[in-house]
């Protein structure tokens, strides 16, 4: 479905997020099959941090992006929904380290409790 240009979102802390990334909040609740103007920028974000291999993107929420989103949610210990839900959008627009989440491997380990 096509979302309107302006989707009211997020939390009381939203005004302190990065201006560029804060624009991603309008993609709230977008899921596979959506065509939203500017979605390619979010795909660039996912590419930058290692979740999408290619760099030539459309504004279509396709299966490849859904897979990337699922991986992102898993990596950041978010609920894995494959959708741009509130938790995911909030994580995306949060300030972060510039080191890519890819090019690494996770060690098998048990956490001591």
């Amino acid at each position: 479905r096509i979302l309107p240009d302006s989707v009211p979102v997020l939390t009381d802390a939203s005004d302190v997020h990065n201006a560029t990334w804060h624009g991603f909040s309008r993609f709230l609740d977008a899921g596979r099959g959506s065509l939203v103007s500017g979605m390619s920028e979010l795909k660039n974000y996912m590419h930058r941090f290692g979740y999408l291999p290619n760099s030539n993107f459309t504004d279509f929420f396709d299966t490849e992006f859904e897979s990337a989103l699922t991986l992102y949610q898993s990596k950041l210990s978010l609920p894995v929904t494959g959708k741009l839900d509130t938790d995911t959008i909030s994580a995306i627009i949060s300030p972060r380290c510039g080191v890519s989440d890819a090019s690494q491997h996770t060690a098998l380990h048990a956490t001591r409790h």
């Binding site: 898993s74 950041l76 300030p95 380290c97 080191v99 989440d101």
Partner: protein, 188 residues
């Protein structure tokens, strides 16, 4: 915890020297305060592994080179202004440690009232983890989790951080997990 591809580490780990760029600083921070913050951040890691860190005035020869940079600063990873990307550091044995000059870096939230203030000590502790060879962790409470909200402080290493770095360098003989657990419990 996670490592960079190939699990790189410092082959001559101790002592590692670090230095601040004489040209790439932020004017509103007291250099003495910055040195104290980095000293504490390095100490947290050296408390758990047999690696010592020593500040040197010789920037050129230092193992770890720390500086504040704005926008495109020549390493192919330009900074993006206020918030967004806060800092980045390179895997061993590169040693480059860059902070985004555009951020509102805070030393003490009691005196810094900016809504966008970023705790310098938290970011320093995180990036040192990268310098040592740790990649991003999925554990939200870990220092090596990739994001940090403004006006929040996360400086204490968690079990996940400690186990990750100790798998690279071994344990500091004076370190006890019980002290870490009680400290985290206290802070929580």
């Amino acid at each position: 915890f996670a490592y960079f591809y190939g699990k790189p580490r410092w082959e001559r780990p101790s002592p590692l020297t670090y230095a601040f760029s004489p040209n790439h600083t932020v004017s509103y921070l007291n250099p003495s305060d910055v040195r104290d913050i980095f000293c504490r951040a390095f100490s947290r890691w050296s408390a758990v592994i047999p690696v010592n860190f020593t500040e040197t005035q010789n920037y050129t020869s230092a193992d770890i080179k720390i500086g504040f940079y704005r926008g495109d600063h020549g390493d192919g990873k330009p900074f993006d202004g206020v918030l967004g990307v806060l800092a980045h550091a390179f895997s061993p044995e590169n040693g480059q440690f860059h902070l985004d000059e555009a951020e509102s870096w805070a030393i003490d939230f009691k005196t810094d009232k900016s809504k966008e203030a970023i705790d310098l000590e938290s970011v320093a502790t995180h990036e040192i983890g990268h310098v040592l060879g740790l990649a991003h962790s999925s554990v939200k409470e870990a220092v090596m989790y990739p994001s940090l909200r403004p006006r929040t402080k996360k400086v204490n290493l968690r079990v996940d951080d400690v186990e990750g770095v100790q798998a690279l360098y071994g344990s500091n003989p004076n370190f006890r997990f019980s002290s870490l657990l009680s400290e985290n419990s206290y802070n929580h």
